[in-house]
């Protein structure tokens, strides 16, 4: 059997040996089983639940309502304002992440003493749990004794301590800042991979042609970086849309509804109102939206493997 298996390797389109087929299935079986139970089944089940009016406050009567939960969600004004807030949180965060990460990746792409130290320190925000990150920023933004007030006061930018997270005009931007700080390292590392794959002779050729630093950046670096830039941007967009932890720790959706985003609404609907039907419908809508984005990502990554 080993001879048959050996014979077919490397010959494109050669028939698959029965031994290979069987052993592949055995090796894959544990993963397929686990993913079916913990990923595929929940997703299908979630859709099934979304067709029922399931409320934990009324566990014995669970009428089938078809797509009514979806209609109810789509007619809810709070849903649309949450969509808007999620969108603006995502736009703010992703823009800032891409700008900061690109700057950091460009720095780390240079050869200089201390570069390794910088890239090790870059992992600090990445490794910190989101809960601790939220706690840390909550303390920094504190209106009574926080570092942000202290710093701005000492630098004479403000003449008295201000309310930060409690100000509904600033909340989303401040949460986005905490999110950006934690997400930048990953984006930087991924962009750096893209930068390193640009052939050095492109730059030396451009230098011979008399292109200055700025032109080399615009005409070589940016176009060559496009694929990894898109990949990181889509990934971070998905992360921002579904983000929950910081909203829980920093504001619980408040003040009023200033940080009431979609992920927070799913939480409120299911675990505060205990309405699992509409909660599932909401979660399903969110999953579909992120999945459309993810589709592109999957195709790119699938082609790579």
């Amino acid at each position: 059997m080993s001879i048959r298996a050996g014979a077919l390797r490397g010959v494109f389109g050669a028939p698959v040996s029965r031994y290979d087929q069987a052993s592949a299935l055995w090796l894959l079986a544990p993963m397929l089983a686990v993913l079916l139970v913990v990923a595929v089944f929940p997703v299908l089940y979630s859709f099934w639940i979304s067709l029922f009016d399931l409320r934990l406050t009324r566990p014995h009567r669970v009428p089938f309502v078809g797509l009514d939960n979806y209609l109810e969600v789509l007619q809810d004004e709070l849903f649309w304002s949450s969509v808007w807030r999620t969108t603006s949180f995502t736009l703010m965060s992703v823009t800032a992440i891409m700008v900061i990460a690109l700057a950091m990746a460009l720095l780390l792409n240079e050869e200089f003493r201390g570069r390794r130290f910088l890239s090790a320190m870059l992992l600090v925000p990445w490794a910190i749990p989101y809960v601790a990150n939220g706690l840390m920023w909550k303390w920094i933004y504190d209106s009574g004794y926080g570092a942000l007030n202290g710093l701005l006061f000492q630098l004479d930018f403000i003449d008295k301590y201000m309310v930060w997270l409690g100000d509904s005009h600033k909340t989303l931007a401040l949460i986005a800042n905490a999110f950006v700080w934690k997400e930048v390292p990953l984006a930087t590392i991924l962009l750096l991979v893209g930068l390193k794959s640009i052939p050095a002779d492109l730059y030396s050729a451009a230098r011979v042609d008399g292109a200055d630093l700025w032109r080399r950046f615009v005409h070589i670096t940016l176009p060559a970086l496009r694929p990894s830039f898109m990949l990181v941007m889509i990934y971070e967009t998905m992360m921002a849309i579904r983000h929950f932890d910081l909203f829980f720790i920093l504001t619980e959706g408040g003040p009023a509804e200033a940080s009431h985003v979609l992920a927070w609404q799913v939480y409120v609907e299911t675990f505060r109102k205990l309405s699992f039907g509409t909660g599932s419908a909401l979660a399903y809508i969110m999953a579909l939206v992120t999945f459309l984005l993810a589709f592109w990502l999957i195709r790119t990554l699938g082609r790579k493997l």
């Binding site: 913990v38 929940p42 600090v124 399903y284 999957i298």
Partner: protein, 300 residues
């Protein structure tokens, strides 16, 4: 002159870089070793004038001490530095986090290594389907899994049990582990496979004797990612744990944050404890993490 200009630029950029990355954490650490009186000074003391470890002591001794209103007032009457009664849950919750994380790591390796080997090195019908299947499961948002998981886990009586966390964390870690490993196995030469098979090794033997020893760097990356993901996970733990018996570290720490009577210095000390293990791991094993992220292209 050009060299000097470049150096000044690089130095300035590096300084900005370090301030951005480290200043918030430095402030967290600095305020965790300040007393309540000092932490509430305006403007803040960036460097503590009387550093103290009493916040950490409070966490580690919370189990022995009976905390009542009187004892906590008596502990620090001038400032009223409140130590919450839930302080005693913090150390056990870190054990819970550790147990969950280690279990998830072990199960991940058992499941992901064989699957990744099959995808990378064996030609079989359905190969690309299984790859796309794996990638698709990777992008399911965890918030969409919460409701079905909750009902599922309640049916099996696993609510408030560490097992529920282990099971659900597999869903968010396995696809990424497989992805990293497939990338790595593919980079190893096919000839190794051929040679081992000619020598009479079965597929499983080839994997265990030839590829696993060679794939050590990517295995370390998988262990680190899985551990950190489990250690840091919040949303699912929030839903499935109810009592200190199963609460993990992020849940207990979050409960401090929402209690307004607790002193800031205590919350910050808890935050520092939560941050130290993952940050140490990440910085010590930086090389493996960066190579893992690079191979895996995107964190799961």
């Amino acid at each position: 002159m050009k060299g000097l200009g470049r150096n000044v630029l690089l130095f300035t950029a590096s300084a900005l870089f370090l301030v951005y990355v480290l200043a918030p954490v430095a402030w967290l650490v600095s305020s965790s070793v300040q007393q309540e009186a000092e932490i509430t000074s305006r403007p803040p003391h960036w460097i503590p004038r009387q550093p103290t470890l009493e916040n950490f002591e409070a966490i580690f001794q919370a189990k022995e001490k009976k905390v009542t209103y009187e004892t906590r007032r008596a502990g620090d009457p001038a400032t009223g530095g409140y130590i919450p009664s839930t302080a005693r849950d913090l150390v056990p919750s870190m054990w819970n986090s550790l147990i969950v994380a280690v279990s998830v790591v072990v199960l991940n390796l058992l499941v992901a290594v064989p699957a990744a080997y099959a995808m990378a090195k064996i030609r079989y019908i359905g190969r690309s389907t299984s790859i796309y299947f794996m990638l698709t499961t990777r992008v399911i948002p965890d918030i969409a899994l919460v409701v079905p998981f909750f009902l599922f886990i309640r049916t099996f009586g696993l609510l408030d049990h560490l097992g529920s966390l282990v099971i659900t964390y597999l869903a968010i870690t396995i696809p990424f582990s497989v992805f990293i490993l497939v990338g790595y196995f593919e980079s190893l030469p096919d000839e190794l496979d051929k040679a081992a098979r000619v020598d009479g090794c079965s597929r499983l033997q080839t994997l265990l004797r030839v590829y696993v020893p060679l794939a050590m760097p990517s295995l370390v990356a998988v262990v680190l990612f899985t551990f950190l993901t489990s250690w840091n996970e919040f949303l699912l733990a929030l839903m499935f744990t109810q009592t200190p018996a199963s609460q993990t570290m992020p849940i207990v720490v979050a409960s401090f944050a929402s209690d307004f009577t607790i002193s800031f210095s205590f919350i910050n000390a808890a935050g520092v404890l939560a941050v130290v293990p993952p940050v140490l791991m990440a910085v010590v094993f930086e090389r493996y993490i960066v190579s893992g992220l690079t191979a895996g292209a995107v964190k799961g």
